[in-house]
């Protein structure tokens, strides 16, 4: 079994990424590639569904930071959904919960792009 897989699904104008496994310095390339592929397709409304993500180290957070400026400058955003406690804690420790909107579910994260909605946390 691979340490990380990242599936992608387009839901109208929103692209949802599904990282399954863990993201650290060893596996980050797969996550970074998935983000960059979405950006290359000019899909700037991105939701990362973290339901299958067991943990994320700074390498994964760095991949998000590396792309966020271009995504936001293009009118989009990168939003997070379904964070487990471990991942949520890491976001809080770093203050990433103030930089990225997080939502309890994928559906709510997708809907937020329609509503210009507020994050749940």
């Amino acid at each position: 079994m691979s340490d990380l897989t990242v599936d992608t699904r387009d839901v109208e104008d929103v692209t949802v990424l599904y990282p399954r496994g863990f993201i650290n310095a060893h596996t980050v390339r797969g996550f970074d590639t998935a983000i960059q592929k979405a950006v290359a397709r000019r899909r700037f409304r991105i939701v990362v569904n973290c339901e299958g993500l067991t943990y994320i180290a700074s390498a994964g957070l760095g991949a998000m930071m590396g792309a966020i400026e271009e995504i936001r400058a293009s009118g989009g955003d990168l939003r997070m959904a379904s964070l487990n406690e471990t991942v949520h804690n890491i976001f809080e420790i770093l203050g990433f919960n103030h930089l990225y909107k997080t939502f309890p579910s994928e559906a709510e994260a997708i809907a937020s792009f329609r509503e210009g909605g507020q994050a749940a946390s």
């Binding site: 310095a25 943990y55 770093l94």
Partner: protein, 152 residues
């Protein structure tokens, strides 16, 4: 002759050596979590300690050894009663932690900076995070007290 209380012997340390390859980071994480739980930390704290040691080991691979996979990293876990200590030891280039820029999240966004996050995480999670040179070896010492509050 006065009776003396029996001296409590410190638990022996667990010492592990791994190749300087990122594929071993998952093992480092699992081992750290197990050792932290054995030392009495709750699972949430053990998860954070595992992340801190993952970050320290990643720093060694990427900066001290500059990505070379044929080097060795020594990890030394010690349960010293009131505190849990992990040493991450390498023989690569000495990295002065004072030269690592501190994290400013707003600047990270505007300047596309992605470095320094690992060091920031380590400092947030641990009670102390120190670096020293010992002969030809660099020693990163991470300490978490058992009575300290979890990272904010």
């Amino acid at each position: 002759m006065l009776p003396t209380a029996p001296r409590r012997r410190a638990k022996p340390a667990l010492v592990v050596k791994i190749p300087s390859e990122t594929s071993y980071l998952a093992l480092v994480r699992d081992l750290t979590k197990k050792m932290a739980e054995t030392a009495g930390f709750p699972e949430t704290t053990a998860d954070r300690l595992a992340l801190a040691v993952d970050e320290a080991t990643t720093n060694v691979i990427e900066h001290a050894y500059k990505g070379a996979a044929d080097q060795e990293i020594e990890l030394r876990f010690e349960d010293r009663g009131p505190e849990f200590r992990v040493e991450i030891i390498d023989t690569g280039q000495m990295i002065d932690p004072r030269t690592v820029p501190r994290v400013d999240l707003e600047r990270f966004v505007t300047e596309r900076r992605t470095g320094g996050l690992g060091m920031h995480l380590m400092e947030k999670i641990m009670d102390s995070c120190t670096f020293r040179r010992s002969g030809r070896r660099n020693v990163c010492l991470l300490v978490k007290r058992k009575d300290s509050a979890p990272a904010a």
